[in-house]
């Protein structure tokens, strides 16, 4: 069995964990410079504020009621790291999928005891980090993702929902689920499926896998198998939804050399930046993770991750490389045999809809324009002449790392001067 564990309204929950005043209030987290809402509490959603809504378009009445904070990636990254450490107490095989979601593998565990195990896991995440989490438990990733979504809709599950591949409950669920809402099914694929008469997840499950592979792709065929309860998808092969990009790979052999991790991180970051530009997005932060091989019981285990916020939403390879390099430097520990590392681009925004910052200088615009043309030329060369025809040797120096973030809360867990204050009187 596999569990997908995610933190509810993750950024907002991180803020609430350190400032209990925020409990019950409509809270939103904004991107650092351009003022879009990137996370919403339940209360803010109830006020009708949409994901990605620009701050300046919110009605004054809502702005008065709501608490709107700049994103505090140092805090979110640290809480995410702690959450994964808690998960590692419950299973040796934890896979980071995004800053607020991880897959936890339970092969070899007693299936009958798994729900109780997951309830303890959830309670422990809550106690140790303050984050309310949901756990979707199922035989495959695609079903686990669905089960996780049910925990959000049905409070009766108390945060842990288990879906079997062949139960009536799963069948009823799949029959009602539009195929477009399945994890890994892109919108355009869903439209083509509908033209062929496949409108629900259940119809996709019943389709002939070979035919699906021929008419669509291997990935969609694998989704069919996953819906039937046969694990077929590796994270690396998974289509990424437009909100995040993940590039990671296991090393061919274990390595304890910083240079190896740097080279791999650089390659992943380069690839992630290419994907980002291809889909016309900008990223706001870069997460890097490393881990040892959890199946080598004789080795000391280590897994860690770190998030670096970008100075502004961007798709510029050198900037992303520099951030990834800093993130890796923050978590690399000597003396471990690493098996895997990965780069995740977080909180993506449409490049077209990016708003100009009020603080922007003409020089910034010129620099961005130059970067845009450089990246376009680079992508063109690499597309025409083959991957890695043109590459970045070393990223340019970090220059403007200071973020403009007037509404940012304290970096409660990573900065001595910004710790939580507790009153004695």
């Amino acid at each position: 069995m596999i569990a997908l564990v995610d933190g509810d309204s993750f950024y907002v929950s991180c803020e609430r964990a350190f400032d209990p005043h925020l409990e019950g209030l409509p809270v939103g987290v904004l991107s650092n410079n351009d003022g879009c809402v990137v996370a919403r509490s339940r209360e803010l959603k109830a006020l009708g504020v949409a994901m990605g809504a620009p701050l300046h378009q919110l009605p004054p009445a809502i702005r008065r009621q709501a608490v709107l904070l700049s994103s505090n990636y140092a805090l979110y990254g640290d809480v995410s790291r702690r959450m994964n450490q808690v998960l590692a107490e419950f299973s040796p095989a934890v896979e980071l999928y995004s800053i607020d979601e991880s897959f936890v593998h339970f092969s070899g565990f007693d299936p009958g005891a798994l729900e109780a195990h997951c309830q303890r896991l959830r309670e422990t995440v809550r106690r140790w980090t303050g984050i309310p989490a949901g756990v979707g438990l199922a035989p495959t990733r695609v079903l686990a993702k669905l089960a996780n979504r049910l925990t959000k809709r049905e409070p009766a599950y108390e945060g842990v929902c288990r879906l079997e591949a062949d139960s009536d409950a799963t069948r009823r669920l799949l029959e009602r689920l539009p195929v477009a809402e399945l994890w890994g099914v892109a919108r355009r694929t869903a439209e083509r499926l509908q033209l062929m008469g496949i409108e629900t997840a259940w119809q996709l499950r019943q389709a002939d896998p070979k035919w699906i592979r021929g008419a669509f792709s291997v990935v969609l065929e694998r989704i069919v198998w996953e819906l039937r309860g046969h694990p077929s998808i590796e994270l690396e092969n998974m289509l990424q939804p437009r909100q995040r990009i993940l590039v990671s790979r296991s090393f061919g052999r274990l390595s304890d050399a910083l240079a190896d991790l740097q080279a791999a991180t650089r390659q992943h970051a380069t690839r992630a930046a290419e994907k980002l530009r291809r889909q016309g997005s900008l990223a706001r932060a870069v997460l890097v993770f490393v881990r040892t091989n959890p199946h080598r019981l004789q080795d000391a285990q280590y897994a860690n991750s770190h998030v670096v916020a970008l100075p502004e939403p961007c798709n510029d390879t050198p900037t992303i490389l520099a951030a990834a390099r800093r993130a890796l430097a923050a978590i690399f520990l000597e003396g471990h045999r690493y098996q895997k590392c990965g780069v995740m681009l977080l909180d993506l925004v449409d490049a077209e809809r990016r708003q100009l910052s009020l603080l922007e200088e003409p020089a910034d615009a010129r620099r961005r324009d130059r970067s845009r043309r450089l990246m376009a030329a680079l992508d063109h060369l690499n597309r025409e002449m083959g991957r890695d025809t043109v590459r970045f040797g070393l990223p340019h120096q970090d220059n403007a790392w200071a973020l403009r973030c007037q509404r940012r809360t304290q970096r409660y867990t990573t900065c001595w001067k910004e710790l939580v204050t507790v009153k004695t009187g």
Binding site: P20, H21, E23, D78, R81, R82, Q85, V86, A88, E89, T124, R127, W128, T129, G130, L297, Q298, A300, Q301, Y302, A303, N304, I331, L333, G335, H336, Y412, T413, T414, W416, L419, V420, T421, V422, K423, T424, G425
Partner: protein
């Protein structure tokens, strides 16, 4: 002013002279039960204060105390507190608790069948928890107090 007799002090070892600064999030590694801990090799080595006060890195947080009402427990204004969120808030323990949204540090106690928060300064009356919006945030395990004249 009297000198502390030397017999009252016991030397336990050298402090770590790690050239790299130790930050809180650094201890990410877990050691599987039943296998030798890599830390065993260092038992006769340097002492690391972080290892001493942080038992569970994932659930341990540093917070800053404000105010003087917990001086009886050795907690002074501006002291650094080590808080472990994984520990049970048992009576007698000093805890961080959110009372009506405010994080406060107090000793948890039972008095005449009621759960109360005690300040360690007798001028403050016990705070009964009934009827208040509150939830435990964590348990204070250590206080780090800088003495007058110590560099900040």
């Amino acid at each position: 002013m009297s000198l502390v007799p030397l017999s009252a002090l016991r030397i336990v070892g050298r402090t770590a002279t790690s050239p790299t600064p130790q930050y809180l999030p650094l201890l990410g590694c877990r050691v599987r039960a039943g296998f030798p801990s890599p830390a065993d090799d260092h038992l006769d080595g340097d002492l690391n204060l972080h290892e001493y006060v942080v038992r569970r890195p994932a659930s341990t947080y540093f917070v800053r105390a404000e105010g003087d009402s917990m001086q009886g427990d050795g907690i002074h204004d501006r002291d650094l507190l080590v808080v472990d969120r994984s520990l049970e808030p048992l009576p007698g323990r000093v805890i961080v608790i959110a009372v009506d949204g405010e994080l406060t540090v107090k000793r948890l106690a039972h008095q005449r069948g009621r759960t109360v928060l005690l300040a360690s300064n007798p001028r403050f009356a016990p705070i009964p928890l009934e009827g208040r919006e509150c939830h435990v945030w964590g348990v204070v395990t250590h206080v780090i107090h800088a003495l007058p004249g110590a560099p900040a």
